[in-house]
């Protein structure tokens, strides 16, 4: 059977990894290709490069990263961040990337999903969704002035107690609300030809409190394409939980791996001990 995937994510700015990475002795810990190779050795199943370069003039640097990675790393990798159109996708795929992740461009022009899928195949087109929970009333949390929603107690994992949960998608790295419902958007991107969803919980991202189970479950239950869960990984149990309870096909983490709190191999061994199929 298909193995569950463990995916480290590298934030890359102007060709350099921006979040500190301390887990291995590398000649150059800021070089995304060196890091990608190190994760390949750790038996990561896939990699995501998220390009956060702001300047348009320096956008081509990520192409060089994708291109050098192809010479050294023989597992699949996705490149996302700042992709505007078919030409950007083509350049990255020709450099050696396997998949392209689109977020803002897909919301602004959903046809780009279909164009990309028709030209390069659905399996190349990942739609990244950054989702944030709304309160039962349908309002955003900040509109109700509740500052404490990130604390664990006020955010129970049992979705059966909160059947009316809704999530809104955000753009520009979580800065811009859209008013679009995350579940409806997930169904739409599947219908348009997306081959995979990279789902980030903005409520959980950076908290290490665990993946967002209700959100992930709502999305995996709504679509028939693979879903990568992202945001909130803090310990081994979190990976198992989102796979078993929310049917995630893959799990993504960044700082947890970068700072060496856990290795990819440790996560895989733990999952295997708990009856989950992984590539080891």
């Amino acid at each position: 059977m298909l193995a569950k995937r463990i995916i480290p994510c590298l934030d890359v700015k102007e060709g350099r990894v921006v979040k500190g990475v301390e887990f291995v002795n590398l000649r150059d810990a800021g070089d995304p290709v060196e890091l990608a190779y190190a994760y390949d050795v750790q038996e990561a199943d896939e990699l995501v490069f998220l390009d956060i370069t702001a300047s348009h003039e320096k956008r081509d640097i990520i192409l060089e990263v994708a291109s050098r990675t192809a010479e050294k790393v023989f597992i699949p990798y996705t490149v996302g961040g700042g992709i505007r159109g078919i030409d950007d996708m083509r350049s990255l795929l020709e450099s050696g990337a396997d998949k392209i992740s689109i977020n803002t461009a897909a919301v602004k022009n959903p046809d780009i999903i279909t164009e990309g899928a028709e030209r390069f195949g659905s399996q190349c087109i990942v739609v990244a969704i950054d989702a944030k929970r709304k309160e039962e009333s349908g309002k955003r949390k900040e509109e109700r002035g509740n500052k404490d929603m990130k604390s664990k107690d006020s955010f129970p994992l049992s979705d059966s107690r909160f059947p009316s949960y809704k999530w809104e998608i955000y753009l520009n790295g979580g800065r811009t609300p859209t008013g679009i419902d995350a579940v409806e958007w997930a169904k739409k991107v599947e219908a348009l030809g997306a081959g995979e969803i990279l789902l980030t919980s903005m409520d959980r991202d950076g908290t290490q409190d665990g993946y967002d189970i209700p959100l992930t479950k709502a999305i995996t239950g709504a679509v028939n394409i693979p879903v990568i869960a992202s945001g909130g990984a803090g310990k081994l149990e979190h990976f198992l939980e989102v796979i078993v309870e929310a049917d995630a096909d893959a799990v993504l983490a960044a700082s947890l791996f970068h700072y060496g709190d856990l290795t990819v191999r440790q996560v895989k061994e733990y999952l295997k001990e708990n009856g989950i199929e992984v590539r080891l």
Binding site: F74, I75, S95, G96, R119, F120, G195, N224
Partner: protein, 204 residues
């Protein structure tokens, strides 16, 4: 030299770099002369079946492919490259393929998540030389929505279990095809490419 046929889709460069990593010279080309002069030929591909077959026909490469297959030179189809062997495909309306392997290409059923994306194993059905010295426990990387259903079972080199058991590799004489991406399948993928390249060298 190994020729990688350029049908203007997808991950040609990744395949080339994988061969280079195992010390084999590989050239991306659409020159009939170069392809026919190669020790081994690879038909790679991601993308759409129709674009791939149209590109091959426009460049007159379909005849070159037939010549290579008749001459006994080792030939490897990867992903769409394997699917192009079929008589026809359901992808993008009904499309005709190269008809090298009798059969059709069909979509994965909706009882499973489509595309199949990730690492899966093979049940190798016979002593296929490209899988020599690769353990049963090895995983390979898949990213596809369609698969081949050959008419004759004796061309099946491997199957894969994904809620259904489908054909993930074919082998007929000098013709090999794999649904997964050996160039993205870590060390066992490289080993498979090495086995394939070795077939060319054993002919010299």
């Amino acid at each position: 030299m190994i020729a990688i046929i350029d049908c203007e889709i997808g991950n040609l460069r990744s395949v080339q770099k994988a061969f280079e990593a195992i010390g084999k010279e590989a050239r991306i080309t659409d020159s009939i002369q170069t392809i026919e002069g190669a020790q081994a030929v690879v038909l790679p591909g991601v993308g759409a079946f129709k674009d791939a077959i149209d590109s091959i026909r426009q460049k007159g490469l379909d005849k070159a492919i037939m010549n290579i297959i008749d001459s006994g030179i080792p030939f490897l189809g990867i992903c769409i490259g394997l699917q192009l062997y079929a008589t026809e495909s359901d992808e993008g309306g009904k499309q005709t393929g190269l008809d090298i392997i009798k059969g059709r290409v069909v979509r994965l059923p909706d009882i499973v998540k489509v595309p199949e994306m990730g690492w899966n194993r093979l049940n190798v059905r016979k002593d296929c030389p490209i899988f020599k010295d690769i353990p049963e426990t090895a995983y390979f990387y898949f990213a596809h929505s369609f698969y081949i259903v050959p008419e004759e079972t004796d061309v099946i080199a491997a199957t894969t279990d994904y809620g259904l058991e489908y054909v993930s590799a074919v082998w007929k004489d000098n013709i090999y095809g794999v649904q997964f991406h050996p160039e993205k399948s870590g060390k066992w993928g490289l080993k498979m490419l090495e086995n394939f390249a070795g077939l060319a060298e054993s002919r010299d």
